[in-house]
């Protein structure tokens, strides 16, 4: 037992040739967000507070596809979505189609705590944000030059881009388009020393997505799930994650087949989600951590009470 925390900044075909100026800021952000989360856990904050806090950090960071730095729709706008879930009560909150809310994850939390509903979208969600007085910013705040460029490339390539970290310099190096990737989601899962679990996920979605497109992130049981056994946050190709009900299945395998967290998480990623489509971070009530992915890489970090920490991108090297 003991506390544990894991977070991700997206799974996908992250090329090993990723240049330092694209790699280092992300690693630094993962490390920083991990520190924020660990400090909060040590200070006795609830896992629900911790995951919200960490995801807010990642949303504010312009290098991940959430909040500022969100990828753009085919109209050149941002439409952000997020979801939070408390393991003990299975209470949850989700939002989609946000355009001015600085921290989507915090609005998702307010949906959970201040309404009898679970999920608000688009104009209704924006109106709720204003009612609640959360911080809103003009849409242009979220748009980065990098993402304008990515959208341009995706349109030129006339397809939806699955790996937002890789500029499409050569067509043959570009990953195959499968139309529904959700690379670059951010997420965090945490458990405290008493076994209380929580999860949070946030994203801008898919580059060049149709306006109104919703991915796996705000769908309970797909991109986000927590109960008394584990907490899960997934990332990758939205459609694949929805079809495989990734979040729920990790927990279901633990509950119904008695698998351990690692076994369940590995099984779902390796057997239930098609190759190169998904990754996840998960923690169990007993303080286990799992961060499997079937893509080339996944930006991730974790720490446990016994002092283990890890910050990594690919599967054969760590850079803590």
């Amino acid at each position: 037992m003991g506390w544990a925390i894991a977070l991700h900044g997206g799974a996908g075909d992250i090329p090993r040739s990723l240049p330092p100026d694209r790699r280092q800021p992300r690693e630094a952000a993962l490390r920083h967000s991990l520190q924020v989360g660990v400090a909060a856990i040590k200070a006795g904050r609830s896992p629900l507070d911790v995951v919200e806090l960490v995801v807010r950090e990642l949303e504010d960071h312009p290098h991940f596809n959430a909040g500022r730095g969100s990828v753009l729709t085919s109209d050149g706008t941002v439409e952000m979505e997020a979801c939070i879930m408390d393991g003990n009560t299975k209470r949850c909150g989700a939002v989609s189609g946000l355009t001015t809310v600085k921290n989507a994850i915090s609005l998702a939390r307010l949906v959970m705590e201040k309404t009898p509903h679970i999920y608000l979208g688009f104009d209704g969600a924006e109106a709720f944000a204003r009612d609640q007085g959360v911080e809103t910013i003009e849409s242009s705040h979220f748009i980065t030059p990098e993402n304008i460029e990515r959208l341009k490339q995706a349109k030129e390539a006339n397809r939806v881009q699955i790996d937002y970290t890789e500029p499409l310099t050569k067509v043959e190096e570009a990953p195959p388009s499968n139309g529904d990737s959700q690379l670059g989601t951010v997420g965090c899962v945490a458990v405290d020393g008493k076994g209380n679990l929580a999860t949070a996920t946030s994203t801008g979605g898919l580059v060049n997505k149709m306006a109104g497109r919703i991915g796996d992130t705000p769908i309970i049981g797909a991109g986000t799930y927590a109960n008394k056994l584990c907490a899960v946050s997934a990332t990758g190709k939205g459609e694949a994650i929805i079809r495989a009900t990734v979040g729920r299945d990790v927990a279901a395998l633990m509950e119904y087949k008695g698998l351990s967290l690692k076994e369940a998480a590995t099984y779902v990623i390796e057997e239930c989600a098609p190759s190169r489509t998904a990754g996840l971070v998960a923690v169990s009530a007993t303080g286990d951590v799992a961060m499997p992915f079937n893509t080339v890489g996944m930006f991730r970090a974790c720490a446990t009470e016994d002092g283990y920490t890890e910050v990594a991108i690919w599967d054969d090297e760590t850079c803590s």
């Binding site: 949850c92 009898p116 608000l120 709720f128 009900t245």
Partner: protein, 329 residues
């Protein structure tokens, strides 16, 4: 065993004092939809096509809460959502926030078949509908006098919406005694509550399953509120062992990932269909949540279960079994 089977529902949570003629009207509609589905199955239509066909019929009839006859938002408009899933390949499509699309279930199908995505909502969904040339109507088409009246009652009943967190102290009998607390669902007294959805599940003789769900959502809801019906794994799910469509208190269905869990206990615990349905209804609706569901298995079985007061439903299979009901089994 191993033939086709079909089930339809028109929502869980029924006013025990619903006038007889309304009950009869509902049963006639359910029967008509079953017959439509059965006829389609006999013509060898694929389960996904049968599901869409039957739900279109339910959406077009103003009796239940979907398409025409949808429950209304706080502003008095219809804002609809639907999802459909093909057990073959677990392909899926969903829409939310549609206001001019005559048949939301068909738009959900087009999202699945004709877009690179799984779920489209609000103006993005409406734009896609226009591109696809589906039949569009004014929002008025969906609004019935009945529902305008219900909306007014819901506002008066002060459906402030925090009420539904109070667990039902109630009654597991069909009637509410005068001195027991009023039956409620989603915070509304049952006389005002509009059952939330319609759905259909189908399996053909080859064991292929499909499911679909469609709704106008919660009466007096905030515009922008999304419920369980368009959420794969919650309101709708289909895979190679079964197909499920749920109805009832959305939050409870989402938290319980009800539709997925029926399949999960079949797959991971080896339960049969009815056992899985009973398990999920008994154990996955914690916190007093009320809901119901219909399901078919790849073996040709059909089952339903609900812990609410009543669920409009009908089931049939190739062996000649056919049943339409509202109250407890």
């Amino acid at each position: 065993m191993g033939g086709w089977a079909i089930a339809v529902h028109g929502g869980a949570g029924v006013d025990p004092n619903l006038p007889k003629e309304r009950q009869e009207g509902a049963k006639r509609l359910l029967t008509r939809c079953l017959d439509l589905g059965i006829s389609a199955l006999r013509s060898s239509l694929l389960p996904i096509d049968v599901v869409e066909l039957v739900i279109r019929e339910l959406e077009s009839d103003p009796l239940f809460n979907s398409g025409r006859g949808s429950a209304l938002t706080a502003e008095g408009a219809a804002e609809m959502e639907a999802s459909i899933m093909d057990g073959v390949g677990r392909r899926c499509g969903a829409v939310s926030g549609v206001t001019t699309v005559k048949n939301p279930i068909s738009l959900a199908r087009l999202v699945m078949d004709k877009s690179p995505h799984s779920y489209l909502a609000f103006s993005g969904a409406e734009d896609f509908a226009k591109q696809q040339g589906v039949e569009l109507v004014d929002n008025d088409y969906f609004i019935t006098e009945d529902n305008l009246g219900m909306l007014k009652l819901a506002k008066e009943a002060n459906s402030i919406i925090f009420d539904y967190r109070i667990p039902l102290t109630g009654s597991d009998s069909c009637g509410a005694a005068a001195d027991s607390p009023p039956l409620k669902m989603n915070g509304l007294p049952i006389s005002v509550y509009a059952p939330e959805t319609v759905g259909c599940v189908v399996v053909d003789g080859e064991g292929r399953c499909a499911a679909g769900t469609s709704t106008g959502g919660l009466m007096n809801k905030m515009s922008g509120r999304i419920g369980d019906s368009p959420l794969i794994g919650s309101g709708t799910y289909a895979c190679d062992v079964c197909a499920v469509s749920c109805t009832g208190e959305g939050e409870a269905i989402i938290r319980g990932t009800l539709a997925r869990d029926v399949a999960a206990v079949m797959e991971y615990k080896g339960m049969g269909l009815q056992e899985a349905v009973d398990f999920v209804i008994e154990r996955r609706l914690d916190g007093g949540g009320q809901a119901g569901l219909i399901a078919v298995s790849s073996k040709g079985e059909v089952a339903c279960g609900f812990n609410s007061v009543g669920m409009f439903r009908g089931c049939a299979n190739e062996d000649g079994f056919m049943e339409v009901g509202i109250w407890d089994q």
